[in-house]
């Protein structure tokens, strides 16, 4: 950390700061200029930098290391590629995860799964436990939903990602899902994160609705620190003053995260916009900006969805989107689902 003293700081005040830094375990380097003294402090890890900031004569304390380690590119320069069976997330191929907001019925799950597979998705997404702002909204089918999703994924040879809402659901979720999704509202549920660090199932960590990128990477650090290295990040919109869209999808988080961290970064344009007609342009934008994958809500009959229908694509809209993405991906040297089924399936 670098401690900048006020111009009028006395030598006594400088000494007091140095004493405190030494007590906190830092090696201290004092540098006195014409106008002010600047103190460099390296190596310590005890206590709280803010404690220095409130000392008399201190103007500012500047941190010079990120608070996260395992999540940073400094620690691991090459990209992390998360492997699940033969699927690779974070490599050259842009991976699309698609499916309904919630599992509702066997027919709905089957119809939607068939549609997203045909269009080129590699992972089925679908919720069984739904975090809802209101206690009066539909809360998901629970284990029955997981069973429906797993069975459809297996039939269509897809992986399955589903959201875990609480520690108590961990055993159940691991039984059914290939990827455990941590929702935006749980991004700082540290009890849950710590436990996910102890398992080895891949985790998709959504960004909290007002989380800074640093806080997000710190939450990833909780999981990595436990030994689970299979962490993927997912941008899903941040809260701003603008209210035409439900959230503001922060596309610039893609290049920022790619510079700071080695973890794969995906984007969820469905929650990021909240409106079907905005999902397609934002999905295209995410891939053009370099995202490693997408999370997209598709529903076989969105008008009768029990949750998030307004932001779910019709299967035909999803087909068209995948076709557009296949044109865009090569612009940044990437591919997107070129397998036989898809090549036969999506064409007009």
């Amino acid at each position: 950390m670098v401690v900048v003293m006020q111009e009028r700081a006395t030598d006594e005040q400088v000494q007091r700061v140095i004493a405190q830094l030494v007590e906190m375990g830092f090696d201290v380097h004092r540098s006195t200029g014409a106008l002010r003294t600047v103190i460099g402090a390296v190596g310590g890890r005890q206590g709280d930098p803010a404690l220095i900031e409130v000392l008399d004569g201190v103007k500012e304390v500047l941190r010079i290391t990120e608070p996260y380690k395992l999540a940073s590119r400094t620690f691991k320069p090459e990209n992390t590629v998360v492997g699940i069976g033969d699927l690779r997330i974070g490599g050259d191929e842009v991976i699309v995860m698609a499916g309904p907001c919630s599992a509702e019925t066997e027919e709905q799950v089957e119809a939607t799964t068939a549609a997203v597979k045909r269009a080129g998705a590699k992972v089925l997404r679908g919720g069984a436990f739904k975090p809802r702002s209101s206690p009066y909204s539909f809360q998901g089918l629970g284990e029955e939903g997981l069973r429906l999703l797993r069975s459809a994924a297996d039939r269509h040879n897809l992986k399955l990602v589903s959201e875990i809402m609480d520690l108590s659901q961990l055993d159940l979720m691991e039984k059914y899902a290939d990827i455990l999704q941590v929702g935006a509202r749980n991004m700082q549920n540290f009890t849950l994160l710590r436990e996910l660090g102890r398992c080895r199932t891949p985790v998709l960590l959504k960004r909290g609705i007002s989380a800074t990128i640093e806080e997000w990477l710190l939450s990833a650090e909780y999981i990595l620190a436990g030994g689970n290295m299979n962490v993927m990040l997912c941008e899903r919109g941040i809260r701003t003053f603008e209210s035409y869209t439900r959230n503001t999808l922060d596309i610039s988080a893609i290049p920022v995260v790619q510079k700071l961290s080695h973890l794969p970064i995906l984007v969820d344009p469905s929650h990021g916009t909240g409106r079907r007609d905005k999902v397609t342009p934002m999905a295209r934008a995410a891939v053009a900006a370099g995202a490693d994958g997408l999370l997209i809500e598709v529903h076989s009959d969105p008008d009768h969805a029990r949750s998030d229908g307004a932001q779910s694509l019709f299967p035909s809209q999803f087909d068209r989107l995948m076709a557009e993405l296949r044109i865009i991906a090569p612009a940044i040297g990437r591919s997107i689902c070129l397998e036989p089924v898809a090549r036969r399936g999506w064409s007009r």
Copy 2:
């Protein structure tokens, strides 16, 4: 809900909207003006208003009822007063809860508790389980911390408020604390909220760092809906673009909440500002604006606190603040700790 059609909407589009509303269980009232049609819909509760918004020809859907019920003043016009033994929160007296961020040692807890009691606090605050952004920060003493806090509270005849971080801590927390605090990061931990609705211990629900007031009241609704009516709200700063303060303490939330809801509203200027020298002016502002209480971090030796030292008041600063608050409270027809001990204690 009120559905505003576009100016050029066709009659077919209007009929499609009406059909969907009827299917969703609404009574529908159509009103066609020179320029556009407006459709009023009352009574339904099925499905999602956003589903209407994406229909062709719809310009906007306006909600006309708050999504929360039990938390609203419409439901209960008179103020809720939460009683804990002889303590009343939400009545004429402004209640101050004070103490250390975390319990660290017996000496620290005792010295701080004695100091806040002497100055006029009615409730001891202190953490045993700490939610920390970084996995490498001090995480609290756990049950040992609770034991220290309870014993100090009892010795000084104070109530105790402490934070519950996860469902799994509920039994333990109820054994020691009089008030269960739900932190900002858990404001939408719905699994936890639902469980707190099943118990009867009073809950202090902090506002999420970027939660709208509506979302906050919806989270309170989760607890109320379970039958636990002893809910208090606590404003603790929202995230804005300004970075001089850690958060922007939203003082205007006080009159807004008092208009929308009957629940007591407290303010935490310590987390709201993050800096000791800002705590005192903001605490004064909160009381002047009409807050029902304050949550303030005080530490017998802030320079050596293991967490949040930079925002903890010295006991002498807390004394002075309480003296200032005793002048301000009468301006809005309220009192603040006029008991013998305090009257003797704080002046020197």
Copy 3:
């Protein structure tokens, strides 16, 4: 407007609201349900809806018309295409405007202009009057800068866009520039906007750093209302809590504006991110999302630029970006600079 009364509103209160609405010139339609009364009001234009909101018994007032008219798609369903000579902005071709932040020297302007022309830009951008947060920063060359830019644009057969900072510069600016840029800080300089409405030179109106899309369209309305229909909008980043990027480029504003308005929408990824390495991915994202054009800072020697060097692309980076955009544009049925010079020019 729709006035929603409180559940407990008395008939007297309802009558008071109706009387006020009638006084304001509205046709009133009362609709009383089991729980509450809702009052529809159409046609009036006098006074302030907020005046109704403060009346006793009123719960909420909902607006049902946008406050802007000429800027809305309701008023003009087909896209506006701004023509400048043979250039068309808002049509099938994505238009790129590129050049230095400020004109500095004849050599710098010439070298940069030649480079952007070669790569496929159709408009030269460059500042002569610079709005700077600090009074101690470089403020631009003034008329001398305009002269340099005009002469380079003419030599390379490009149009010129440059920023007008104050009413008093209007005559001068019209003499040199083809498009007058209104900067983010002046988006609500109503005196200036009104005057721009009186001239016929095309205007590029940047979004204020914290302007809602509605406020932005209202500012466009000031210009349109004066009779100048040649208005283009330019998204350039909004202020959010995230601080890794200077601003958060709101890519979702593109589809939102295209739904609400007929005006062309461009994107400035240079100011939107503030960092060279973020400009390219965000420019790609903007085109993929459907932007009608881009505004990009390029400098022949960014390391020695007198302003904004850190966000200016090197000519070679701009070449590569244009090549990538040529792959992306067709995905949404658009072209981007396919003229001979470019086709010869940009290739490695």
Copy 4:
């Protein structure tokens, strides 16, 4: 500035940074630790720190001096007190400026002025030129409005503050007003600010709706740098995600500004909240937090105001507020209008 190199930065990269810093006129101090190199740079003023940030191997550039000088407490430790005749703003007395949003008629101006004087205001506030988001809203009476306000102020022995919207109004405004108000939307109208620096009339500089405190002080610097030292700041609400209030009044800006700057800081709770019933609690909060003054909209007949009626207090509400403030001010060692007229006038 302090340049933090990446852990893996090569010596060549470090040398490149040093060379650039030297070229920019800095004295450079290199300090190489076990993990990384940190370079201190002092004294230079040429070019842009962001230019260093984009160099290879650089992790972060930290600024160690504020970009403003004359506005800072480092430059002038003692409070600035702005004197206008016998009025002192920034001293022990809290100064209240009150009056209508706009001058509308002679009767309205006279009735309102009499009311605010009687209650204890020292300055009449009122607009003649109104910045309105919509071109279709009432835009003010112009010079006729100024005449009405000046004449009422003189009759009641009050000073007058009124808003200047454009450079071209300067002569006119100086003829009538004692204090020139710069509105939030003009906070970065640098052409206007520079000109205000050349005159000597006191300026009340409102904070832009999304301006950081640093940008606000930089705008003050524009005026101070021209030689006009009579600058007062006025907080009036910032834009956040919360939409129950029009803006979020940033009460914490009061202690922050008082630490960073010597300039007086006032608060406008009328624009800060936009709703009459929130003005009173927020005005009390501002004084309790230490504001040097208040700007409050009062109207003799708010229901028929041509602008901002919904946020204007009735005279009787203003009376009550002043009475409450007289109780609060002493808590922080200040007074508020104790003159004979007021003492007789407000209590009934």
